[in-house]
């Protein structure tokens, strides 16, 4: 089984831009590890769009935006430092576009994100296997893109640090994974010298509230196929609501609840280094975000530098 997964977009990514990207299924939120000296590289295309959004709790459309879409191509890699410690990195190129109105779309390289993923524990529990993972990660803007041009900014340009705890239980070919993440966000610098949130700020620095999220996923997992349902919620710990007909701003309180489906198919026999991933996600509820629908498709390839049989593993599959 060859498993390597898409790195989550930077947690700083504007939800108004690409809501599902932040907590997209098939991220570093799985219970899969690469073997030592195995390097998995891949690329994913994602398209997300919305025509309704929430200003605070007020849901509306906007004929001066039409449908706002975000497309991205993400390059990523996962490397097995040991079979219990992986490093996951990725960076996307992002395009935004509005079908109506006059606002100019943006495009460019967004943020580099990186995670260290450590399999801390795996035990037989009942007839299945319980494993626990700890992850630490961060993101860093790679270019000087404009954060303060929502909803068409390609990101929020904040440096972030995240901690995540992930628990997985597998019974035969069925599994469930739950994780919780806390993301601290550094303040950002914008191109103007004052801005209004709930008061006037006479500075070009913007406090970015921290974020928290949880993610649960469950489904079928075998050597050749993963098919799963995903449910996730994200909360901004602070921030403020967009007032009626006001412009969005990077430090808004962006919350969302999303659900989706994902798959990962690993090709058989001599093609087994290659896998195809894809999925879709829908925003069920939100606050100061677009009600996005997204889909993605990607391909991954495993390079084995260990001169042994290339392999990815998960504890449950091996212990059964």
């Amino acid at each position: 089984m060859l498993n390597c997964k898409k790195v989550a977009f930077s947690a700083a990514l504007a939800l108004l831009v690409a809501a599902p990207a932040v907590l997209k299924a098939q991220t570093d939120e799985d219970a899969i590890m690469m073997d030592k000296k195995n390097f998995c590289i891949g690329a994913t295309y994602m398209r997300s769009s919305w025509d309704h959004y929430w200003e605070g709790t007020f849901k509306r459309n906007n004929q001066n935006l039409g449908t706002v879409s975000t497309q991205s191509v993400m390059l990523m890699g996962t490397y097995g430092i040991t079979r219990k410690l992986n490093v996951v990195v990725g960076a996307p190129y992002v395009w935004t576009h509005a079908t109506r109105g006059t606002l100019h779309g943006q495009h460019g390289v967004q943020d580099l994100s990186a995670w260290l993923k450590w399999e801390a524990l795996d035990l037989n529990v009942g007839k299945g296997v319980l494993s626990v993972y700890a992850l630490g990660g961060g993101s860093l803007p790679l270019t000087n893109y404009i954060a303060d041009f929502l909803p068409l900014s390609i990101g929020l340009h904040s440096k972030t640090l995240s901690g995540r705890l992930l628990v997985d239980y597998q019974l035969s070919n069925f599994f469930a994974t739950a994780s919780g993440t806390y993301t601290g966000r550094h303040d950002i610098t914008i191109d103007r010298d004052s801005y209004y949130t709930t008061s006037l700020h006479l500075t070009n620095k913007v406090d970015m509230p921290d974020m928290a999220s949880y993610n649960v996923r469950t489904g079928y997992r075998s050597d050749w196929l993963i098919a799963e349902a995903v449910f996730t919620q994200m909360f901004t710990l602070g921030g403020y609501d967009i007032r009626k007909n006001d412009m969005p701003f990077p430090s808004n309180k962006m919350n969302s609840t999303m659900a989706g489906l994902d798959f990962k198919y690993t090709l058989p026999k001599k093609w087994k280094a290659l896998s195809i991933v894809g999925g879709g996600m829908y925003t069920l509820a939100g606050r100061n975000v677009g009600q996005s629908t997204s889909w993605d498709l990607g391909a991954f390839y495993v390079l084995d530098f260990s001169h042994k049989q290339s392999k990815a593993h998960n504890s449950a599959a091996e212990k059964k």
Binding site: N64, D193, S194, S199, L200
Partner: protein, 513 residues
């Protein structure tokens, strides 16, 4: 090893949750205003609306030996014996200068109320009403013309009120509390000024009173700030209760003169009517011009089309007509076609630095507006000057009267020609900021900025070339953004300077130079 990395990750996690989250305002920690010159003769400076500095009488204060005054001193001593950290914070905040702080309060209100109303279900737009200010859409929508006028009225009223204040200070010459009683500390700095009436309280009274006209939803909020400032004045030892009461009363009386004028300055009719909106279209068509169209969906009525008829402070209506430049290139001309092509080429090749300039000067929805941006620029420089409150007020009034008259002239020109935006002429022109909902010719940013740079350059000659460069950058920003033709900005810069020169003329003859 794995364990170490794990603990490293967890440690990082706790470090980041403890990240310092405080971003502070650039003027949060200023020293107390310490004027190099008290402008003791300011009681004779030329007022704007008041016919005389003593139009409103102020009662002769009781002697500093009277029991009433002793009670005043005891109030101060009571504060100073038990100052809370909040009170100390208020003293430090207000001691930086009342004109500065009230200007910041005004900018905050402009930004807060600068949101265009959301449409009705039938695709029309509701209009904020001063008769029902709390109902949606709340009153006012402080767009650039509204803001220019509001800053001007407040600044002009503050100036007249402080001239009157200085007149009475000179007349009564009552010593500051800390001079009368050496056990009282001067916590907001010392001045050579007479303390009756209190200049801080004059500012609080005149500004709070103006709110009933300009930001009726904020009367309670502003009243609270007034009380904080007056507490700070007394607790700091700068003024007694009687100094403050006399000052607030004088300020409120003078504000009424400005309110009466504002109620009759035609701003209330600036929204126009559907018949008036339609008339601009037929007038432009009759001249074989493509008329301006709202690029919003649903189409929004043009912003304050009759604002060009508002009565200004510096320019009368004949002057506003005389300021009008010649027409923009005909919408069917080769010149217009070339300018549209240039706008399209620009927007397709904007550099990051040009985008920064667009963002910096955008001053659109939920901002302090372009006149407010120039207030901020002026305040930043004025802080360095150690001026008296009355000189601060005079210079802010000159700036804001220039900005209001620039708005009047600009809106007169915009609706006289009713010229389309680049994106109307070519829908491929996508913009780097929102397209303002009013005609293009001439650029408001260019006029506001050029007028401001002209009067500010007169006030601070050493900064004149810097102001000109900033104004030019503000004008360029609108071309970079794809929302203006170059000609809109070039002509706007010229007319703006002409308006600014009326403020310079006033400055040269108001007795302050």
């Amino acid at each position: 090893m794995n364990r170490n990395i794990f603990f490293l990750a967890i440690g990082t996690f706790f470090v980041l949750t403890a990240c310092n989250k405080s971003v502070s305002n650039s003027t949060a920690a200023l020293p107390a205003l310490a004027p190099a010159d008290e402008d003791l003769a300011a009681g004779s400076w030329k007022t704007i609306l008041l016919s005389r500095p003593d139009s409103f009488s102020v009662a002769t204060p009781v002697a500093t030996t009277s029991p009433l005054y002793v009670a005043d001193l005891n109030e101060i001593k009571g504060y100073q014996a038990h100052l809370t950290s909040d009170q100390k914070g208020q003293i430090a905040y207000w001691s930086a200068g009342g004109v500065l702080r009230w200007n910041e309060v005004m900018r905050e209100l402009m930004a807060k109320y600068n949101i265009p109303p959301y449409q009705n279900v039938d695709g029309t737009y509701p209009i904020p009403s001063s008769a029902n200010p709390f109902a949606y859409p709340v009153f006012p929508f402080s767009n650039p013309p509204y803001a220019a006028r509001a800053y001007a009225y407040v600044s002009a009223a503050q100036y007249d009120a402080l001239v009157a204040c200085w007149y009475y200070k000179n007349k009564f010459n009552r010593a500051a509390p800390y001079k009368v009683d050496s056990t009282i500390k001067a916590m907001a700095g010392k001045t050579g000024l007479s303390s009756y009436p209190s200049e801080g309280a004059v500012l609080a009274g005149v500004t709070a009173e103006m709110m009933q006209l300009l930001f009726p939803d904020e009367i309670a909020n502003v009243q609270q700030k007034l009380q904080q400032q007056e507490m700070a004045l007394i607790a700091s030892g700068a003024a007694t209760r009687s100094d403050v009461t006399a000052g607030e009363t004088l300020g409120r009386q003078i504000a009424e003169v400005f309110i009466a004028r504002a109620r009759a300055d035609k701003a209330g009719a600036a929204v126009g009517t559907p018949a008036i909106w339609a008339q601009y279209v037929t007038t432009a068509q009759a001249a074989n011009q493509v008329p301006w169209l709202s690029l919003e969906t649903p189409a929004r009525p043009p912003m304050l089309p009759m604002f060009g008829k508002v009565k200004g402070f510096l320019c009368d209506s004949a002057t506003i007509v005389a300021l009008r430049p010649g027409p923009p290139p005909s919408t069917s001309s080769a010149d217009m076609k070339a300018q549209t092509a240039a706008a399209l080429a620009q927007i397709k090749n904007a550099t990051r630095e040009q985008m920064r300039i667009v963002q910096f000067w955008a001053d659109g929805v939920a901002t302090v507006t372009p006149p407010g941006h120039w207030n901020a620029i002026a305040a930043t420089d004025f802080i360095q000057q150690n001026w008296s409150e009355v000189r601060w007020a005079r210079n802010m009034a000159l700036l804001n009267m220039a900005e209001m008259d620039a708005a009047i002239s600009c809106w007169d020109i915009k609706y006289f020609y009713f010229n389309p935006r680049p994106s109307q002429m070519d829908a491929n022109i996508k913009t780097l900021t929102g397209v303002p909902n009013f005609p293009a010719y001439v650029s408001g940013h260019s006029m506001f900025s050029s007028a401001a740079a002209t009067i500010l350059g007169h006030i601070l000659p050493s900064r004149a070339s810097a102001y000109q460069a900033m104004a030019q950058e503000a004008a360029n920003s609108r071309v970079f953004a794809g929302i203006h033709y170059k000609v809109d900005c070039e002509v706007g810069m010229t007319v703006g300077a002409n308006v600014g020169n009326y403020a310079v003329k006033r400055a040269q003859t108001d007795g302050a130079e």
